[in-house]
């Protein structure tokens, strides 16, 4: 189970964790990396979880505002850099947006399926590209984002 036709887990069975579980996971990952899960970081990670999908840095900044005075861009960008470095958040390149990650990628890149109608995003481990890499090219990271229509929105459109 969890194995697809390529012989490794693409996350098809991935059960989305609850918000509490996601927060706990973030706390644990920070500890494992010897990093601090400060109140500010927890606050921002909570907003990312609540967003429940890709969110833009400046929207995050707006959400941070009421409880946090008048935060400036570096505040949110620093947290995003931190979480991205720990693999807890991904940047969705073509949306200029950020999204939490529940996966244990372990060297895999992420692969996103993004519905442009309802804005929902499904994440998986990246499909294996090893068979079609130019000879000798060493991949350090991959950006893989598929844009289109999810099953529900496709059905609704018909």
């Amino acid at each position: 189970m969890g194995q697809d036709h390529h012989g490794h887990d693409h996350g098809h069975d991935h059960t989305p964790a609850s918000k509490e579980e996601r927060m706990e996971n973030a706390r644990r990952v920070c500890q494992q990396h010897g990093e601090r899960f400060t109140p500010l970081r927890e606050h921002i990670f909570g907003l990312l979880i609540e967003a429940d999908g890709p969110i833009k840095a400046y929207d995050l900044l707006d959400l941070l505002r009421p409880e946090h005075g008048s935060p400036k861009p570096p505040t949110v960008y620093r947290a995003l850099e931190f979480f991205t470095r720990l693999g807890l958040v991904h940047r969705v390149e073509a949306l200029n947006a950020y999204i939490t990650c529940d996966h244990m990628h372990d060297g895999h890149s992420a692969e996103f399926f993004i519905c442009e109608t309802c804005d929902r995003v499904q994440e998986r481990h990246a499909h294996d590209h090893s068979e079609c890499i130019p000879k000798g090219f060493v991949i350090k990271r991959s950006v893989i984002e598929h844009y289109g229509s999810c099953v529900d929105c496709t059905a609704a459109a018909a």
Copy 2:
């Protein structure tokens, strides 16, 4: 030949066209789409060809400047939108850069291998992702960019 282990052409044998050929191709594609290849567009496409790799919009703007007075951002962004719409140029999302395309994608997306050491980019037709799409998801376009080290730079580093 030109067929890889997945049974379709990924462009492994793709011979880079000369600059003149690339310009001619652009002219032809414009005609086929009933669009105008104006002097401004030709000028900008020429700069994109000369760049011979990903180039940023504002760098393009600088190159345009000497011959063209004082062009403003919309000038270059409009041309980039035009060429992108016709498939003559791709945006490299994670670089905020633009690059000419010699491929006949015909519904395929592009897939890029980008060396972060020498900045050279190899483009191919995208690897087929149809086997690992979430059930019912209809992909309209894909962003696939691999970052790492090309064969030459890997060898040079060792």
